[in-house]
Structure formats: structure tokens, C-alpha cells
Symmetry: C2
């Protein structure tokens, strides 16, 4: 029997899950709607998720595979408490004791829960570009901005399980208003929404021609900015310049605390490649204290894509059951 | 025979050393000049330090005590390399392979070196107010501003041994010019020099009466600011207000990375007590992301004082030889 893990990523729209081999291959995967459970109980959702996961295992031939643990990634999840404390984007707004609920159904399995960004960091360490690294930071650039921090080979959870909220650090004092109610958080500049806002502010400040003007509307996205930058659109290029600058400012402050060997950036916007990475690297080195200069790497995630969340959740269990502590 | 450690704190002016019991009591201590070795080799300095340390042990009765290790705190010291990389305030400006030199003289002893702030953090954890804490940050407020970070019960050194340089994080973008060549570092506001500069800027901006005006001169110190604040001097109180505000801003960013259970502040200025701590706490809670509010403590160091540096250095060895990992 081959030992496998079940990786589950609970998102606001969909929940993805997959059976993952020890080598990090998704042997079988499936998706179910999360949003369809609006108005239904979390127990109903989980009951259907258990059935769908078991069906997935059966599709592979249940007698050949043994699930050794279940890793779960979810927004606002807390590793220590095993709970989703309060997730505004999920159908259930009360505290969900997710590990306890899973454990009741699967009493013999190892169950772990963490938030999306921490799962991304562990996934990167176990299966991705951070293999062999003991000190690194993964930054997830999506609807929000998250971070997962590894130091001394271990994920940093802090005293309460909430460490690694880099996206809500105040990078620009008195800067843009954030959904958290504070001003100048990194997320207000480096999330998809923040990047679009930078574009809109630049467009509004000039009459200069830009490809972006025709895309402005309800479907305006960072992909449009990427495409316009590829054909040399000045305003689109300036969006990457300003995004890179703010990201680099906060990354240089992260270094003063943690001195990681590398940063790994994760999320759709990283598809822009050097359009994004070149300004980040340039500003980053200019902001760093001299003792840190020219030695800290900045890479794209090797796991980025639709499988990453499942692999990150699965890696939680691999890390827990086979620690790679030196 | 009682097992003891030798704790050594190498400073720019003096080097303090002491024989420390496992309970954290300095059984005997002494001081020698560092600055007197200007123009002499580091080997000459160390040879005299070895002799003075051995004389100290003999003064206790060498047959009753066994030194199990030597812990050394020094500016710009690197735990991983065992070297002082470059210390502008010491008589020797080249790289000093300090652990290697000590080990050659004491081949059978455990020798560890770290910088002052990391030693303060370990000292606080082993002998001071951070006993029992697994996630905390010590901030040293002196000529410079340093920090020692403990997460998951271990000191965070980063990939290169240089983690924890919070004093050189840019808290105020484009703020005051720092000795490091960059602008707006925490140190330019929260070091003794930074605090005095705040006072001078406030005095220069108004004709309001202040006790501080008579003290302004080459001997002007933070003690004068403390004394003036105690009798209600408005400008002196405003200095504490502004110092607390900048410290709280950077501390709130530290929380986004590390979510410590507590901060411990170390250094002469902390003698001002609530004059300093009250504004820090007030601003700190106002800057924090909601998930962190009202749960992170801010305390004065319990080790502060002339013995702290020796205890911190000694604690390095205690921590190394008897890890308290969970």
C-alpha cells in the first residue's frame, strides 16, 4: 500500500482537494463549490466533502492507497487552535472548530489546519523551490497579500498562531485606506486590488495615451496591466515600478527582523516575470542595510498554479510526520 | 564541584566578565579597559583577559568551581561564524575570529559568541522576565537600538546570523539621516542620540519655557529629559510622547511578522518607567491589526543594569548546553 496524504484547500468560491503522493504528485483531484453552501451548515458541507474525498480515493483503487493524514488550508485558519476564527469570505461566519470536526470523522488520522499563506510556505519547502532552505519567506500576492515565514527550518506561528500577516503591516504611514480599517498596509498597494488602484490613480493623473484606458471597467484586471506593459505601455510599466517599490520597502523591513536567505513570490501577478521582479530587486537592494545587500534572493514560487493550494495543505502533514529539523 | 559559566561582555570602552552560577548569580565579576588596547593586537587583549578571568576563578577558590563554557557578547558579533565582522567602536577594525581564538586557548570548553541584543534576549529568557516565554522580542535602547528575537523557543539568527536588526528598519520613510547612511531608521528616533535630537528639535521650534533649555550642551542626556518630565515639563513630556509613538509603530510591524507574546525593553531610558511605557502602549494598540490587539505585553527588562551583559553572555552557554525546547 502506498502512503498518501489528502490535501484540502477551502476557498470562498471553491474547495479543492486531492490525493497526494509522498513525492508531491497529485494522483487525483477534484473541486466542489463552497459558495453553494450559503445558508447550509458547515456540517452539511463537511459531510459532502468527506464523501467526495472517499469517492476520489476509491477512483484510484482504495485498496492500494493508505491516507496517513489530512492537511487543510483555509482563510483565517489558526494552526494552534485548529479553528477558522472568522472568515468573512466563507458561508459560515462563526468560529469553525475544523480540526475537531475532521478528527471526529477520521479519529485515526493526523489532521492539521493552517492559513493559505502558511500552507504555501510549507508547500514550497517540501515540494517546491524552497527545498533545502531553513530561513525564507513566501509572499502570496492575490486578492489579499499574505506571508508564510520559515526560520530555523520551522514555520513561525507566533504566540497565538497569527504570525506572518505581512500584508497588513503599515508600509506607507497614512497611506491608502485598507479593508482592515487602518492606513498604508502593504496589501493596499500589492494586492490585485491595490495594483489596479495604482493604475487608476496614474491614469487619472495624466492625459497621456495608455492601452489601459480602454480596459478600465468592471472587468479591468492585473492581466490587462501585464499585457499593456509587454508592449511598452508607459503607465502599465509605471504600475510595476510603483508596485515593486512598495513591496521592496516592506521586504527590506522583513529582512531586519528575519534575515531570510530568500523570498518566494506566489500568485497570478508573478506571471509578469521580470516586469515585476526587476523593480523589486532594484529597490530591495537600495533599501537594505549594507550587511544584507547582494545576498538575499527573490524568486517566483515553483508551486504557483492551480495545484499549489492542495500541495501546500498536503505538505503540512508531510512536515508534521517527517520533520526535517537539523 | 559547582558548575559555572564565564560570561564576557566586550564593549567599546570596557570589557566586563563574571563567573555565573546556574541560578544566574554572579559569584565574582571584574572589569578591564577595552579602549586601553588601542594600537595593541587583539591577541594581547585576549591574553590579558584569560589571565584576569583565571585570577577571578582563583579568587573564588578554583578547586570548588568548574567552568563548563564561555559565553561572549560583543558588538557586530555573528553567532554562526563566531566572528566580530567589523566593529567600528572596538580598537580592532579587522574581522576577529573570536570563538576560534578562545577555543585555541580553552580547547575543552563550549564557547559561544553573539551580539549584545541577542545576548540580552537569551539572558532575559534564562534568568529574567522572559522565563517561560517561547515567543518574545527584546529591544535594547542605548547608544544604538538593537533587538533579539525568540520564536518557537529559539533565537532567530536568520540565514547569515544577522537577523534582529530592528533598529535599522526604516520606520519613517525619508525620515532622519542614520549613521548607516539610510533615512528614517528606528534608531534615529529611539536611541539616546535620537531621543536627544527630538528634544532639540522641539526646543528649536518654540519659545515656550522648558527646564531642558538650561541643560542643552555637551553633557545633555536622556536623564535630563527624564528629570524634567518628572516635574511636568511640557517639552520633556512631548519627547516621551514622540519617542513612544515611533517605537510603537515599528513594534506593531514586528508583530505582523512574529506575533510575540511580549516585548521587553532594555536600557537606561527605560528607567523613565511609565513616562515611556504609557505612550508606547497607547500608540501600540492603536497601530495593531485587530487580531493582535489587547494581548501583547510590553514590559521593562528584569535584567537591566550593570550585570545584565554578563548574565546575557553566560545565558548563551546555559541555553546551548541545556536546551529548553518543548
Amino acid at each position: 500500500m502506498q502512503e498518501v496524504t489528502l490535501g484540502i484547500d477551502i476557498g470562498g468560491t471553491n474547495t479543492k482537494f486531492g490525493i497526494v503522493s509522498k513525492e508531491g504528485k497529485i494522483l487525483a483531484g477534484d473541486t466542489m463549490s463552497t459558495v453553494a453552501y450559503q445558508g447550509k451548515s458547515v456540517e452539511t458541507f463537511l459531510s459532502d466533502l468527506y464523501k467526495a474525498s472517499e469517492a476520489l480515493l476509491n477512483s484510484l483503487g482504495a485498496s492500494e492507497y493508505k491516507i496517513i493524514g489530512i492537511g487543510i488550508g483555509a482563510p483565517n485558519a489558526n494552526y494552534y487552535s485548529g479553528c477558522i476564527e472568522f472568515a468573512p469570505n466563507l458561508p459560515w461566519h462563526n468560529k469553525i472548530e475544523l480540526v475537531k470536526l475532521f478528527q471526529a470523522h477520521y479519529p485515526d488520522l493526523s489532521i492539521s489546519l493552517t492559513n493559505d499563506a502558511n500552507a504555501a510556505a510549507i508547500g514550497e519547502m517540501i515540494y517546491g523551490a524552497a527545498q533545502g532552505y531553513k530561513d525564507f519567506i513566501v509572499i502570496t500576492l492575490g486578492t489579499g497579500v499574505g506571508s508564510g515565514i520559515v526560520a530555523n527550518g520551522e514555520l513561525i506561528y507566533g504566540h497565538d498562531g497569527f504570525a506572518g500577516e505581512m500584508g497588513h503591516n503599515i508600509t506607507i504611514p497614512n497611506g491608502r485606506l485598507c479593508t482592515c480599517g487602518r492606513k498604508g498596509c502593504l496589501e493596499t498597494y500589492a494586492s490585485a486590488r491595490g495594483i489596479k488602484q495604482t493604475a487608476i490613480e496614474l491614469l487619472a493623473a495624466t492625459n497621456e495615451h495608455s492601452e489601459l484606458r480602454q480596459y478600465l471597467g468592471p472587468n479591468f484586471s492585473t492581466t490587462h496591466i501585464h499585457q499593456a506593459a509587454l508592449i511598452g505601455d508607459k503607465i502599465a510599466l509605471e504600475v510595476f515600478e510603483q508596485t515593486g517599490k512598495v513591496l521592496a520597502m516592506e521586504m527590506s523591513n522583513a529582512v531586519g527582523y528575519l534575515s531570510p536567505a530568500a523570498f518566494f513570490l506566489f500568485g497570478g501577478i508573478t506571471k509578469a516575470g521580470e516586469l515585476l521582479f526587476e523593480p523589486i530587486r532594484r529597490y530591495f537592494d537600495s533599501y537594505l542595510l549594507n550587511i544584507y545587500q547582494n545576498k538575499i534572493k527573490i524568486y517566483p514560487s515553483a508551486l504557483d498554479g492551480s495545484d499549489a493550494a492542495i500541495l501546500g495543505a498536503s505538505a503540512l502533514i508531510v512536515k508534521k510526520l517527517t520533520p526535517i529539523h537539523s
